[in-house]
């Protein structure tokens, strides 16, 4: 560093790089962090839980440490009929999304209402609990800690549920299996908005990690796929072997997500299935072999729940 020029150069380099990072990290960070959550962001946080990529509580990405999304048509506490609604059950020990544990994620009135009307401050991860998403009279969404406000306990809610969705664990499968290498979750400003649905808004992501927008679209956008195609049977066949429902698909088979046994406890023999399938593909058999129904705790079921939940 003997030359004076190099000292000047180093200082200039530091100034340039710092200025660049100030403009491209600090300023956008302030701007983005000032956005309030939308209702979609609240629902996503409560569906996907704390973190979907690698984390300390689910190091092998098996879909652990995730809430369960349930559909209710009766009040878990009183048993009285209610309008169909969703609730998010966090069994004790499940980690909360950032919106429930940090003061600056929900943003603005959403935060205020979630604390005052929703009583989210009384929730703790050790006890778990049930959450719902509500709207105030002026349309501001907020999170409600239904275990306090409505007296809904975890066990009673799971028992009263018409349907349980493992969409949170399914997102882990979406990340682990690399679905996002081909399917984006970001309709673009083209006719996408007509075929694939409304683009995400600025407050739609608060508290979600990772956001898995995807970048390389070798397959259709999936952000609203559950609205286009809500058939569990179609998706089951599609994940087992996409060529069953779409002969030209280049999607890989995800038959291994079924695990060892199907919903009836019967052993799944992929090799035998393949023999019949190849005969069917050749034209020797009229019908393709039956696709096994995924077991309720199988990874295939989680992934299908996640896809169906993308409304």
């Amino acid at each position: 560093m003997a030359f004076r020029e190099y000292r000047i150069g180093c200082v200039m380099f530091g100034v340039a790089l710092s200025l660049s990072m100030f403009i491209t990290i600090i300023l956008p960070g302030i701007d983005i962090s000032s956005m309030s959550s939308t209702k979609i962001a609240l629902e996503k946080q409560l569906t996907y839980g704390w973190e979907t990529g690698f984390n300390y509580y689910d190091p092998f990405l098996q879909g652990k440490d995730k809430p369960i999304k349930v559909t209710l048509t009766k009040d878990p506490k009183t048993g009285a009929a209610i309008d169909k609604m969703n609730a998010y059950v966090f069994p004790p020990g499940t980690h909360f999304p950032d919106g429930l544990t940090h003061d600056n994620i929900l943003g603005g009135n959403v935060q205020v209402l979630s604390m005052s009307l929703g009583e989210i401050n009384s929730a703790s991860e050790e006890q778990g609990g049930v959450f719902t998403v509500d709207e105030s009279e002026d349309g501001t969404p907020y999170i409600e800690y239904a275990t306090i406000t409505r007296g809904w306990t975890v066990d009673a809610t799971l028992k009263a549920a018409d349907h349980q969705s493992l969409a949170g664990s399914g997102k882990t499968m979406f990340v682990r299996e690399g679905c996002w290498w081909c399917h984006t979750l970001l309709p673009e400003q083209t006719q996408d908005w007509q075929t694939f649905g409304r683009p995400p808004m600025v407050g739609d992501f608060n508290g979600e990690s990772p956001t898995t927008f995807g970048s390389d679209r070798k397959a259709p956008d999936l952000l609203h796929v559950g609205s286009r195609n809500s058939s569990r049977e179609w998706l089951t066949m599609h994940f087992f072997n996409p060529r069953l429902v779409q002969p030209h698909s280049i999607m890989p088979r995800y038959d291994y997500l079924w695990g060892k046994t199907d919903a009836d406890g019967k052993t799944i023999d992929l090799a035998a299935w393949d023999v019949h399938y190849l005969a069917y593909a050749k034209g020797d058999e009229v019908y393709p072999p039956i696709v096994p129904t995924p077991a309720p705790d199988s990874e295939a079921r989680m992934l299908i729940d996640f896809i169906l939940n993308l409304k």
Binding site: A16, S20, T24, E177, E188, M201, P210
Partner: protein, 468 residues
């Protein structure tokens, strides 16, 4: 190499670290392109090798990307720095021993990192896929010792000034560490939402822009004057290149997310800065091509110049694409399509790989003091790489334009898949040519080390390339 791990510093032959890095980089290049070829086969024929969890496309795609970026490109950079930095400072490498340990731990860490990615243990963020413990390993065990060697060699130089190449080496290593640690903040601090999405692409943009582009350029700043014997055309244009890289290349990260709901001011700012990338690009390409004045026959005769100048020429379409494809109008058409895949391969397999291959060819000959075992095989490797890459680039560009049109005109997606099928097959063929070319390369370099003719003291490999 391993016998030097516990040797005394003065007992280790100079250049050992460079050789270790260079041979490792070629091996990783074979692995990375092999994986790429395998993945491409799956996009053409989805039931190719199905039924195994480990060979699933979604598990292997990122392994290809990281094997190539961290294995081939970064290790070839390390190999280049281990011999170019001391040569330009008229001194020895600061520590050969550190370099050898660095290379060993680099290989071990990379194997571990890729194994984890392969099994699906990922952060779910493109280009920063590695989980945070691996990120820390990469930063502090793989990159910091490497940087330390480069910086200390420059500080201990025996020349008065610092040559252009070494500015870039020193600055890029610094920027790499900063970008790596800040870009992985979402994982270290659990940042969420759009901040996380934006930081993912801030990292992806800057790690390519502040490491790969400038270091590849820095290598050509060394190879072309050294092998041709011409002085660099202009030191001042080099200054312009350097400072405009720092200022313009570190700012347009948001142009990767033009269709996301990021703040509009940020997207506009990024788009303008993205066009300004043409400033360093034009300065650089002109500077190198003008350095070739009077020596253009070497483009045909000399293998290092052939590789380097091909890389520089590929930088012209690369930067023209890069400058303009991120403006809103063009991005609207091609974002998320195969065009981008083609562009990424133009940057990494086109421009930078050709520059690095030249540096590894030249470096191994200089460090081993042996000339190439077979110039014919080297030429064969060049053409396999160039033709394979061209097939890949052209087919993916066409596929991208088809996808873009289908996106605009509301074509059902499966029709795009059908239309792209022939291009997917061509892409596979191209990638496979690159893979086989690299196997030939490794063979040639191993034979060079074992049986290459010695280069006489004081002579350049290029001078004796055609003497028997």
């Amino acid at each position: 190499m391993l016998k030097h791990l516990f040797a005394k510093e003065e007992d280790i032959p100079q250049g050992s670290a460079g050789i270790f890095f260079a041979i490792s980089s070629i091996c990783w290049f074979i692995i990375g392109t092999g994986l790429g070829s395998f993945n491409a086969a799956k996009l053409g024929f989805p039931d190719f090798f199905h039924g195994s969890y480990a060979l699933q496309f979604g598990h292997m795609r990122q392994v290809h990307v990281h094997a190539v970026i961290f294995g081939w490109i970064a290790m070839a950079f390390a190999a280049s720095m281990m011999y170019i930095t001391p040569a330009l400072g008229n001194t020895k490498l600061w520590s050969e021993k550190l370099g050898i340990w660095n290379c060993l731990l680099y290989n071990v860490g990379l194997c571990l990192a890729l194994a984890l990615l392969w099994s699906g243990i990922t952060s779910g963020r493109e280009y920063s896929d590695h989980i945070w413990p691996i990120d820390l390993y990469i930063a502090f065990v793989m990159v910091v010792p490497w940087s330390l060697n480069v910086w200390m060699t420059i500080l201990n130089r025996r020349t008065q000034g610092i040559y252009t190449t070494n500015w870039f080496f020193a600055a890029s290593m610094f920027m790499l560490i900063i970008v790596f640690l800040i870009g992985n903040m979402p994982e270290f601090l659990h940042l969420t939402g759009l901040n996380e999405a934006y930081m993912t692409w801030w990292f992806a943009h800057n790690v390519l822009g502040l490491l790969i582009t400038p270091v590849a350029a820095a290598i050509t700043y060394y190879i072309v004057p050294k092998v041709t014997g011409n002085p660099l055309y202009s030191h001042r244009v080099g200054h312009l290149h350097f400072w405009s890289i720092v200022v313009f290349y570190s700012t347009p990260a948001a142009h990767h997310l033009m269709s996301s709901p990021l703040p509009e001011w940020l997207k506009s700012f990024a788009s303008v800065e993205g066009v300004l990338i043409l400033v360093p690009a034009v300065a650089y390409v002109c500077n190198i091509l003008l350095t070739m004045q009077g020596r253009w026959t070497m483009f045909v005769e000399n293998i290092e110049i052939k590789f380097t100048i091909t890389g520089v020429l590929l930088a012209i379409p690369l930067n023209m694409q890069g400058g303009f494809q991120q403006t809103r109008a063009i991005n609207w058409y091609i974002h998320g399509t195969g065009w981008i895949v083609a562009h990424a391969h133009l940057a990494l397999l086109g421009f930078s790989t050709f520059a690095e291959a030249a540096a590894v060819y030249y470096g191994l000959q200089v460090l081993l003091r042996r000339k190439l075992w077979s110039a014919s095989l080297a030429n064969f490797h060049f053409w396999m790489l160039l033709i394979g890459f061209s097939l890949y680039w052209i087919s993916m560009t066409i596929a991208g334009l088809i996808q873009g049109a289908a996106k605009i005109y509301e074509v059902p997606y499966v029709d795009v898949v059908i239309a792209e099928h022939p291009y997917m097959i061509v892409r596979w063929l191209g990638g496979t040519m690159v893979f086989f070319g690299n196997i030939i390369w490794l063979f040639n370099m191993v034979m060079t080390a074992r049986a290459g003719d010695p280069v006489p003291v004081g002579r350049q490999p290029a001078e004796v390339a055609y003497t028997r």
